[in-house]
Amino acid sequence: MAQRSLRPEMRRAAKEAPVGDAIMSARDLSVHYGAFQAVRDVNLSFYENRITALIGPSGCGKSTVLRCMNRMNDLIPIARVSGEVLYHNHNIYGPNIDPVEVRRRIGMVFQKPNPFPKSIYDNVAWGAKINGYRGSMDDLVERSLTQAALWNEVKDKLKDSGLSLSGGQQQRLCIARAIAIQPDVILMDEPASALDPISTLKIEDLMQELTRNYTIVIVTHNMQQAARSSDFTAYFSVGEDRAGYLVEYGPTHEVFTNPKDPKTEDYITGRVG
């Protein structure tokens, strides 16, 4: 992997720097589950080394949109995607695109921690191994666990089962597992919703650290979390026809302090949802 890591003080500078090109964008993205349209015409871009939060009432299609970003929707037989998802200007839904390769570059962390019933070490090492990683596996495991802020807690019990950890630790193990294959983008679907407040804060701090190297997209139903930790916010809502659509998208401070759409304001101030 190209050494992209910046020192902390440089990161702040990077954030204040003008936003670069979008690393991923959705173009007229629509998703159907069978005959039911779950998401309609979403246009949205994710910027490098930034955190984008997807918020909105439940059922508005946040998870669906997120799953489109690394073709995890392929696993749902009735799901049908139309439109484009561009990753570095490749349409990942184009012909002859290998979804396995897409997922290798665009990782995912799930709502419920789902470590493998293997040792902590193997949890981190497995993904790298199948992706043909050559190099010191011990180093990679240590580096990934350190980046996931878990190394100090588990360095003496790497042989223990990943399932022996607490919920918050398990989720950080899943993050370590995701970053061990050095993706560009990490998609997180409500990664803290099953965790206690302390673990939630740890995950949020961790996300800030990770933006040095990764672009993060996070689905959250927690408004404070979106406001605290994201650079961009996309607010989704459900239309008359029950299809989800993007209401408003912009820099987080603008969406939260000066929303353009009254629906966004209602949601953010707690009048809806």
């Binding site: 290798r104 799930f110 789902n114 019933p117 497995w126 199948i130």
Partner: protein, 350 residues
Amino acid sequence: MSSLPTPKNREAIFTDRLSARKRRGMIFRNVCLAMTIFGVLSLGALLYDTIGSAFTWAAVEEREVRGRVQPNVVQTWSLWEGIYNRDELQRLTAENYPEAEFRFFSWVNINFLTNFPSRFPELSGFRSPLIGSLMVIGITALLSFPIGTGAAIFLEEYGTKGWISRIIETNIANLAGVPSIIYGLLGLTIFVRGAGGLTGGQTVLAGAFTMTLLSLPIIIVAARESIRAVPPSQRQAALALGATRWETTYSHVLPSALPGILTGTILAMSRAIGETAPLITIGALTYVAFDPSGARDIFTVMPIQIFNWVTLPQATFHNLASAGIVVLLSILLTMNGIAIVIRRKTERTW
């Protein structure tokens, strides 16, 4: 207004219906207890009978057979009879067989395990059926475990959930309940007559192929169930790391499902090891006085030999049959024990 009946007396809220409820609970409990006792008693009776006849008290004379002195059992009494009535039996022996010695005689012994069947009960052994059964079951396990697992993986991990898969699914479940004799007829047609060139006719191999057909539905059903029990979140985790479907199946689904698949296989094998009808149908012998030279040799199996002994008139052959049952049951219990250990060792909470 509440529609639930409430006692008039407030003090009685928690005590009013207690005795009626206890009485009703007691009735259900006792009915279930009676059913349990019935089951335990029938099992007990079976064991009592078999053990009493495999381990006996006997009047034993010495006799010369082929130049060697051999014990000749002239009369036997069951283990239990000898325990309660020893003096009486000793007196009877002394009266009726002055030459004979009264002693404990176990029909399960080294000779029984190492000798071939013979027309002298005391010399007769279980060797060829034991080896025949182990060969048939061994080959059956080697064939049916990978085939069954492969089929289950296809149906669960690759198969689409359309109407074709539903038809296959229903058919496999139904096949598990087809009477075993029908598999015997199938085996006779396909493996003895059809593929006789490959199997060599009425051989261990033809028997093992037939038993594989019989075991497969059971194994496939068990394997599918344990594959389905692996949470989808595990597959998602692996696929999201850029794993292929096969890498996901091989590294995560199979290891988690393996204990269940092995348990199912062992249970299918313990059904197969007791099967008689299909092997008689394909032409397994009832009397084999040699070791099968390989998988393409003729053979017999334990239940056939046991059946053969039971049909003979002499009482001492019935003791041999019981001894055979004891050996067969011991093997079955061992197999089921292994299945339980596997399950215990790998119990997982996700």
